[in-house]
Point group: C2
Chain length 682, copies 2
């Protein structure tokens, strides 16, 4: 994962034993050697074998031979050649790559091919020709709203490299924090960050760490809105007089730069010049999103300026600002990238539009000749299930773009906005879902089998732990913490674990509406310990499908038992939880959910009883159970029960079982699922 562009399995396999070696007889450099060492150590950890250290000098005898032709770009770039080929036979694996970057990508593929059998470890014989579908495959991390220390960034860079992502987009400045040292304007970070910022030396360390993994670092300085933290030290560049304080709440706020003020451009020229020297990437992101016009409207000087320059309105003023910014970036040798809003005919064609609006907005830009990347549909902060992101294609099959226009769609970026993530929870919001997005951006469009994706994702998710990610470890620890003074009792922790397993944090922007939080709110509650895309829901869904929609008797019986076992276990967890909550008040908000869980599990079990008795329940039973399930479906404590839908199907299927006889299996499935998907207006 991601699936290679072309992959053929041949017969045989290459044994991986303690005599495993890697030779790099072609072009080689420190970056390649470091990658070889990291891969060898990961292979050792997984196999328990000890290999000889360092690259092998005898290529003919080496297990894996890497034939690299060149270093690749000195600075990771969007037009990097990332291709490689890998031929594995019984006796040797040979990787060929035009650049070290291609070799790095190929090494991750090699590692993923490792398999184990009765006779030990091996790599299957394969012929792989691989290269990415899109050149821009990114992850945005918002370090503005919630600060993320270096260790978080580094382990996520390792995770990115493992799934062949190649752009770390750092959202560095926000209303809630200015996170980079400016030597020219030190009040920016000194007063705008609570001391949580990267020094330039630290940022160089991150950039180098990324470069070693062939990952670009694109910095974003969001302007002219989202800039409260700038104004704490420099109120003079704001559209409204100060003083300002760092924003602690979440939302879209009024503070905005004053584009009519020449002092602003002087500061931006100085600051962005400094940043242009710090960040080697060709692109610089200027944000440009969600500008509220209120402070511009209220400022007569600004309104007079709009009149005077014939800018029409606030939108025109922002376009003016972007043009000025564009000149500053050009002066400092950077190409501009910004959100949809920046798009304006006066800007040069080499800017990149990052679309939070969607494929259509992106296609429109492409038709005007602008390059773009997609982020709509990859908003991992919104807690959508993986398959949604996975099926979200930057260039959908039915695209109206010409092949030439399609080439302007450079790729996409998963966006980790950080209102609701702390260093403790961020990994579990990014991973493993982002691995599926990485596959969407690397692999051919045709690779889109959702159940196969989930099967592979489960394996990759465990492997991502080996590079230091905490997406599984931290939620487990949070679960223990939620047990409070009962954390020493294994049974209590297990019960909380079962409960967390069947819930998901609320999706979209619901949490903000349900919980009143600031930058200081501890993110250690139910909604933080719960994971996106509940595996329990998928598990129950699958078992229920097999129980209800297949006719094979054995499966029926076995799956009936499986569904019964799941519901019994979860129902019991719901039943037990209130006694735990009594001693762990942080879980108090889970009380109604525990009751819901107990009761909906009971409903499912009753339905199975009817099913086994071939006995139809009364209409009252059906109506009351559906009503109860719909009440249980209402989010509480910023989480929702993820297993409602398959239980609804059980209820409907037993209630409608007479109709089963009149339908084909397929019709029956559609019929039940459609009824179950209906929702009463709430």
């Amino acid at each position: 994962m991601p699936v290679p562009a072309s992959l053929r399995f041949n017969s045989g396999r290459l044994a991986i034993t303690s005599s495993f070696t890697i030779a790099a007889p072609g072009y080689s450099d420190a970056r390649l050697l470091a990658a070889i060492d990291r891969v060898a150590r990961r292979l050792e950890a997984r196999t328990g074998l000890t290999f000889a250290r360092g690259p092998a000098s005898d290529a003919a005898a080496a297990t894996l031979v890497i034939q690299c032709q060149s270093a690749g770009k000195a600075i990771p770039a969007v037009d990097e050649d990332e291709s490689y080929s890998l031929e594995v036979s019984n006796s040797q694996a040979v990787m060929k790559a035009p650049t070290v970057v291609g070799a790095l990508r190929g090494l991750e593929t090699f590692l993923q091919l490792l398999g184990g059998g009765a006779d030990g470890y091996s790599i299957p014989a394969v012929s792989i020709q691989d290269k990415p579908r899109f050149p821009w495959r990114g992850l945005l991390i918002d370090i503005g709203r919630h600060w993320q220390p270096m260790v978080v960034i580094k382990r996520n860079l390792d995770g990115m490299a493992a799934v062949k992502l190649n752009v770390l987009h750092l959202h560095i400045t926000e209303d809630q924090g200015f996170r980079i040292e400016s030597k020219k304007y030190p009040k920016l970070h000194q007063l705008g960050s609570d001391g949580n910022y990267y020094t330039q030396a630290e940022m160089r360390e991150i950039i180098e760490y990324a470069r070693m993994r062939a990952i670009r670092v694109v910095p974003e300085f969001d302007m002219p809105g989202h800039t409260t933290s700038w104004f704490v030290g420099h109120p003079e560049i704001a559209g409204k007089p100060g003083p300002y304080q760092i924003e602690r709440r979440w939302g879209i706020f009024d503070p905005v730069m004053d584009p009519t003020n020449e002092q602003l451009y002087k500061l931006l020229d100085g600051f962005l010049g400094e940043m242009a020297a710090l960040f080697p990437d060709a692109y610089m992101h200027i944000g440009g999103d969600e500008v509220k016009g209120s402070n511009w409207k209220a400022n007569p000087k600004i309104q007079a300026f709009i009149q005077e320059k014939g800018l029409k309105d606030n939108h025109g003023l922002q376009a003016y600002f972007n043009q000025r910014l564009s000149k500053i970036l050009i002066k400092h040798n950077k190409k501009m990238i910004g959100w949809d809003e920046i798009l304006h005919p006066d800007l040069p064609k080499d800017i990149v539009v990052q679309s939070w609006r969607g494929q259509e907005s992106l296609a429109e830009a492409a038709k005007k000749g602008y390059t773009g990347i997609l982020s709509n549909g990859y908003y991992i902060d919104l807690i959508q299930p993986t398959w949604r992101h996975y099926l979200n294609d930057p260039i959908p099959e039915n695209t109206s773009l010409t092949p030439e226009e399609q080439r302007l769609i450079l790729g996409g970026e998963a966006t980790m906005w950080s209102e609701w993530v702390s260093p403790e929870t961020i990994d579990s919001r990014i991973w493993p879902r982002t691995a599926a997005i990485a596959e969407r951006l690397w692999s051919p469009r045709e690779v889109k089998d959702v159940s196969d994706m989930y099967r592979r994702l489960a394996v990759i998710s465990a492997q991502l732990e080996d590079v230091g990610l905490l997406h599984k470890k931290n939620p487990a620890a949070m679960m223990r913490r939620l047990a409070g003074s009962l954390s020493g009792d294994e049974y209590v922790v297990e019960t909380i674990g079962k409960f967390l397993y069947v819930i998901e944090p609320v999706k979209g922007y619901k949490r903000g509406a349900m919980q009143n939080a600031t930058q200081f709110t501890p993110l250690t509650r139910l909604a933080d310990a719960a994971l996106p895309d509940s595996a329990a829901a998928r598990e129950l869904d699958k078992a229920t499908d097999e129980l209800l929609y297949y006719d094979i008797k054995d499966i029926f019986r076995e799956r009936g038992e499986r569904v019964t076992a799941m519901l019994t276990s979860w129902g019991y967890a719901g039943h037990t939880l209130p006694r735990i909550i009594e001693q762990s008040p942080i879980l108090g908000e889970a009380l109604p959910l525990a009751k819901d869980l107990e009761e909906i599990s009971q409903i499912g079990l009753e339905a199975i009883k009817y099913l086994n008795q071939r006995n139809a329940p009364s209409d009252e039973w059906r109506a009351s159970k559906i009503a109860r399930l719909e009440a249980a479906a209402i989010p509480k404590a910023a989480v929702e029960l993820a297993i409602i839908q398959p239980i609804k199907e059980l209820v409907i299927a037993v209630a409608e079982q007479e109709k089963r006889k009149t339908m084909s299996a397929e019709e029956w499935k559609k019929h039940v699922k459609a009824l179950a998907a209906e929702k009463k207006k709430q």
Copy 2:
């Protein structure tokens, strides 16, 4: 944990709500304020409440008032006053401490007092007068054999602070690595460390991090043996001509310094002078242990020197070396500390002897007027159960020392020697067992109820995760890694988990005899994922005790079910494991253990059947089952099954059940346990 010197519970409790504040109206400084902030954040994480930031100005209204009198020593010292008192009433908690150090200790106590109930969080009303029994409560971390990066040291410092340990003893140089930058003799770290060393700036960062938590950092430079890594860059100071290479194996090796060489003292004066400036602690550890005489014996020049100076033998030569060292340390204003071997009448009385030999050796030193600390019995690398360390008292009840001599026993240190620990596994070897050692060294001697200790330890262990320790997280991830390509299958991972739960790594020095390992061996196998002091063993032991030795019928029935459930579940794990092993070769070594587990579980279940039927098995049955259990008790793959003993008791109890009628419950228990403890000669 540790239990305070004096603790009285009063009636009532202090509510902890979102209006919680801490005021520090007495002496205050950056160290106190940082500790207050850390404690407030931990309290927020555990309660989910959001508190106002910063210390409160209105002491009368604050929830917790800290009355501190002074900063304490500028450099953490062995004679620091660490005492504090804490009075908690319904309306307020008041802590008084002569020094900030005492307040830091008290804050950890405060945090541990947090409880939850139906009406929310609270601290019980208590009166606590607390101070440590011993002033030197340490943890040794060996960064020589296996390098441990800064992040490992920092999170362990936080763990230490949480249980009131106050000395981090860094074992910095070893045959396998020279881990500190020397600006005067850069070849030492450049050639002796594979690049894995602390720069002086990094070490200062560690020392400051420790100081902020009122923890001393005592550096150890082990000499004249254990010094191979020194000689890679400086062969001229060795007792045998070079060249030398960094040692990769484990053991006690021949390379040793040449005490007859004046160049050696010149280098040591320079290097230790540099280190004396870097490490502010009053003490410097010179090791001095395990000097093999071979290279001295084989060197005629050295033998001639011994003759000439009348030093008698190699031991005399080491004493000579230590005297020279002692002068260098005195010159650089440091007191000497070393292992038992350094003890020699010529050394000044203010040296400290660290005893790996035991209480008697320590007492002898005290009788001669030397101060000492105990490490024998606290060797956490030897995988002993917690209770052994816990009951190991530096001054046993029956001590022959006078009160004055007793004062020379300063405390003790847990020793984390690192042959078998990587950054991934080290936390699970240190924690939670070291928390029990911390209690031994802080709390009164009379606090020694083992089962109460285990109850509290389970809670503390979960809380230690909150300061960043990975002792629970990492073993869980290693378990997933062991599942290999099946890691996506929850059932597989659970089965491996059950298996790991009932095994322990072999104890003492057995692993080295069973596995041929070097510094490069990946520590990701069975023995690395297994945990010391199996909770499963304690659980089965307790359930078996209640089943066999109590007469109350209800307990009998319930516990019979409990034992049956445990054995059934473990037996099934043993039965299933071979199929998992087929696809995950790293687990191959577990195959005989899986068979053992399946069969011994079956034996236990058979015994319970006999017990329930009040039916005595045949002598053949007994003999063959005991033999099978003893075969299963033989360690394999550097692990051992931890549940043999209670199953043996089951077998013996049913075989001997006729005798039950002739004995009191107590006699019967003794009788069965004694027979079960017998081992055939192997």
